[in-house]
Symmetry: C3
Subunit: 348 residues, 3 copies
Amino acid sequence: MHYLDDVWYCAALATEVAAKPLARTICERPVVLFRTASGRVAALEDRCSHRQAPLSRGRVIGEEIQCVYHGFVFDCAGNCTHVPRQESVPAAARIAHYPAVERWGYVWLWMGPPEAADPDALPDLDWNANPKLRPVFFHWNVKANFQLMADNLLDVSHTDFLHGDSIGSRIAAKGGAGEPKVELECRIEGERVHFMRRVHETLLGPVATKWAGSDKPVDRTNYLMWEAPNTIHSVLEFKNAETHHTIHLDHIMTPETPATMHYFMNWTRDFGIDNAGYPTDDDVWREQNTVIGGDDIPMVEAQQANLARFGAVKDVPALQDRFVVAVHRTLARLYRDAGKPVPREIER
Amino acid sequence: MHYLDDVWYCAALATEVAAKPLARTICERPVVLFRTASGRVAALEDRCSHRQAPLSRGRVIGEEIQCVYHGFVFDCAGNCTHVPRQESVPAAARIAHYPAVERWGYVWLWMGPPEAADPDALPDLDWNANPKLRPVFFHWNVKANFQLMADNLLDVSHTDFLHGDSIGSRIAAKGGAGEPKVELECRIEGERVHFMRRVHETLLGPVATKWAGSDKPVDRTNYLMWEAPNTIHSVLEFKNAETHHTIHLDHIMTPETPATMHYFMNWTRDFGIDNAGYPTDDDVWREQNTVIGGDDIPMVEAQQANLARFGAVKDVPALQDRFVVAVHRTLARLYRDAGKPVPREIER
Amino acid sequence: MHYLDDVWYCAALATEVAAKPLARTICERPVVLFRTASGRVAALEDRCSHRQAPLSRGRVIGEEIQCVYHGFVFDCAGNCTHVPRQESVPAAARIAHYPAVERWGYVWLWMGPPEAADPDALPDLDWNANPKLRPVFFHWNVKANFQLMADNLLDVSHTDFLHGDSIGSRIAAKGGAGEPKVELECRIEGERVHFMRRVHETLLGPVATKWAGSDKPVDRTNYLMWEAPNTIHSVLEFKNAETHHTIHLDHIMTPETPATMHYFMNWTRDFGIDNAGYPTDDDVWREQNTVIGGDDIPMVEAQQANLARFGAVKDVPALQDRFVVAVHRTLARLYRDAGKPVPREIER
């Protein structure tokens, strides 16, 4: 596999995995996800070894899954346990399984050798279990390499341009109003990269104004922590004399194919958590689908298409890209350490 | 051509070929089919030799077809007989023709050298001409290699799983009710393979119950005979003390491209042939479109997609596959005898 | 570039280029076209050098365009003039620009070295500026190589077949009514090819009858002049004792990709120019979309698809193809003179 294989990949929201099998491609591998009668989440390669029919068209029976074509049955470890109307089962009928863990509202798969799966290596998203916070979960399928979406999030400055009319700060246009002071900090710590960006006393776009709970200038701070393969933990803080709101976000980017990805996200607030006034879960859902679905996803998809059209062009980095650069370097080192080729997307 | 060329390929239902030309791809070759003023069916390669416009956009004039772009005219043997506003016709303007025969409700093409075309080699579907039987004809375009659809039909055991709720027998689920006795027979006879599968005293799915004309347990017998390239003649018999109904089916699989096919079928009954009560032709049409269109075609298309996704995986045969195996061996021998490469679909 | 590069390519109707940037592919190059605050038309390669986002998603600010992703700004010569929140701009941030001229109702781009751009080499369409004539402009995107559309226009004889029921003459069908006299003249003059086709005393299809303004037999004459890369200037004249109407047409074919093209056209009449009776601009618009959109474009797209399906087949020319042949020879010579490979479409 061309991907890092000693990490967990998020494959689904926990709510997406039920008794009805779910077909999904993770790191270019077709996988069937399902929930057994006992509630356990399992993941197998999505093919019956008999005639290569997708198991995702089959049915869960107890703790097993049955192919709907000719009735072969497999357990959660990929062993074939039954072939209709014959007594023995050929050993070659075994298929691959992927260790699966359900945690923090997501289902995580280990795509490397199963025996190396290490639950301690799961990312920590414990604010999703904090009763003082309220998460809303998202899943988008994006037609772009997973690094392009990660880079979008790693360069917070895009918010002021791409989302200038909704969630950005009012500091963008060339020749626009006075530019507020901006602080940046970036720090590599082993296999993690930390980043802070604070815009002092800025006015906000209308949606961000509602989040802040204040229409006066605020200090707007993004704290971000990145970890491999491409999970970004973020705290967004709005603060002035009359308000102090924080939003915890986890952005989790999973490769589907080289040119497509799964984007998982939780938007976890410390205000309006009784879901009775603004923001309700529905408000959050609509806002994020407008901003991410309407601005970010079309942009990274257009970028992916442009990279295909223009071929081997080189990026020209800006000073604000230091977090992107630090992450790319860290990732490149991890690929080299694992003896894998460094993807073009982080070599640029 | 990578296909067997000393056989007839079904290219259309007889009712599909009319004065308005019909474009169809048979064995990867673009063909135009049309019916002349005298009622004769003809097939030419689907290009005008002048500028490569498709003749299927043209018009039939008498016993000929005229290209609609600049007016070249061709006869049924592919000879160019007229170029507008010039007296002579260049010999190079000739295009290929395919010998065409209309028989048993279908139009058959000979894709090998025309001089070798042998009407005696046409498959025998004479029950379509039997006044005591009543056929209904079908044509589906399927996004899968033609062998996958053939294999579907050759392994009758799939009926009890994929169609368990409609036309199957109630013998499928692991841990289900008692399993009735099943007899299998398989016999290779030259270039034909014969197969029999009888399920004794079985309950049937609701649609099969209506066909049988009895809701008591029946002996359900499938007699199948396969012949090259991929025609399956089948008799399905339901029998107990109060009923004896038979259905004659011909399933004819024609390659369109390596990953797509034409599937022709007739469902020919010996009951309800006055078309006044159940089953009417409309009932037959609806049932088959539900079962084949809703179950089989999506399954073989998913299988085709999975083979593309998984690449070189090997099937793990079951004991019930003996008819499939016998047919694959016979086909492989025919390809080798013809000095052609054995397709991957029957080497697996 | 595999295309001639010492010629102007039409990239848009003048009315298509406004402040909102327009993405278009010309000669396989992604281009962004826009109109600045001062009304100037500009064309840049459609990528921001920072992260390869399409500039066509950006905004025009004064005489410049700003990328909407992270705010880089470019002038009309492709120089990067501003990177947000940093003082200097890296020289490597420069992108390509294409000299652009707005003339005769079209926007023309020079795709070769910018310093060689020569406004005197622009085609002359001055009848679009003649107050005694009234043009209507068209743009179609066609899924065929640009030469196939040119060849369609160069062989006027297709009109009588493909458009026999609308704008053709009644001289087409084999075995039809008496064939009127047809004169052809063809003359190569340096890099231009001239052609004349006159059909004497012919009846016309119903649409052409309305253009002619007479339902009696007319002399119908097409005068055509072709120039590189693929612009065809045409005068269509209808004349008898009671009428003399002329229509000036320019057909401009621009490559988009090897298998797709832009087709620009003006249909410029010397009758009904007060737009009060037949033909109004709307009549012209409807008729051309019916004839070109309904007959010609489907035909050349079918031809393109057929060339892909049949591979290396050779055309069999007719006597009426002399204008096509003369143009192909002239084009082939221009490609060879420019040291470029002769495209397959004119070698056939």
